[in-house]
Amino acid sequence: MEKLDRVKMGIIGCGRISDLNILGYLDHPKCDLVAVCDISEDLAKARMKQWGAKKYYTDYNRLMDDPEINAVEILLPHRLHLPAVEAAAKAKKHISLQKPMCVDLWEGRRMIEAAKQAGVWLRVTENFFFYPPYRLQKQWLDAGEIGEPLSIDIRLCGAAGGWWVPLKTWLWRLDFEECGGTPTVYDDGYHKLSIAKYFMGDIEKVKVWIDFTFGAVDTPALVTWKYKNGALGLWEVTTAPNLLNNGKYYGADEWVEVTGAKGVLTATRCTSRVMEIPPLIMYKDGQHVAIDDIRDDWADSFHDAGWEFIDSLLDGRQPMLTGEDGLYLMRFWKAIWKSHCENREVFLDELKEEEAKPDA
């Protein structure tokens, strides 16, 4: 695919999370923010002024028709991902799509085909993948610092506090049909599943236990899985209503620990900073190595994700986190949900046939 001289972005969807997704596009020297789009005209106008865009739209089809734009960032509710991606591909815009990729697996397959046929790049944005302590953790894992990885233990703790998210935004996420899954294990979980796959490889099977709070929020939960290489994974989801989280973003924080044959590697934060301890700690050979001098704000991961997309388009290469990667993580989620519904171990390969388009 040809290299771009400059990337001229259109942002589709100007809600809460766009505050962070925009960061990399605003300060990249070879990226121009051409237009923003939101169904709310007031919000679109406000974002245009705030970010210094040239124009705004309230209909993404109009934005797709804008010949000045050559790439789009899609930040829409999950049900709208497929039509927006197909419209972008048809208009020959390169696509960065916010996670989770799709609601049904066949939708993801259709997105990949649409981008391929149109000759545009498609990437499914997942910011945790770009969080600097996780990047270093992965580098050390690959370098064999703790030996062969044996298990990964991910912890998510939801708490009181965090930034304001409109109630309506929370409520559509609690609507299984509208959201495409559950708010924690599917929507937020995509980040954790992404790290699980990124760090340790392909997953063979999953087994889960999920409880519901308030009849709609899937917490507490335990998700376990086995990798094809024999290693094990565990993700523990808890919500602590009396635990105050003074983080700048969501009232949640993560802990990711990998145990290897000769050591342990622990990332102690991501979305916020519940523990005032170094963001990355390694134990091996009887010694602790703590990394303090690393960018560790959650926003850094969004910034770097934006830069990676722009740099890829300038270099004419596939951005990291392909459509296939996105679809794999959706299969991981579907296996988790199937395991919850059928109370059994589910192999990811069982889900492959769901990628076929349903009959009309």
């Binding site: 109630l167 609690l174 308030f214 009849g215 209503p241």
Partner: protein
Amino acid sequence: MPDFLADKAARLLWLVGRWWLLHCSNRSLSLQFKLARRLAFALSGDEFLCKVMGELVDIFGEDGRAAEIARKMFSEADRDYSVAIVKAAIRED
């Protein structure tokens, strides 16, 4: 506020609030939140509180899926867990 008092207040608030939300129609709730927003603004001037109430006015006023989910959450909420949240809000901790 002492812990035992916050606990009692939270239990009472949760019981009354839940009963009220589940026994009023969406339209009635919307109107009541509208009135409460005006009162809250006049008495406290707290913009955040008014913003939250404004959203509740819209959610119940639209009488749609969002209101249905909000009702489902209140009807299925675990009592002890909900009381803990209300208590945390009362004590601002």
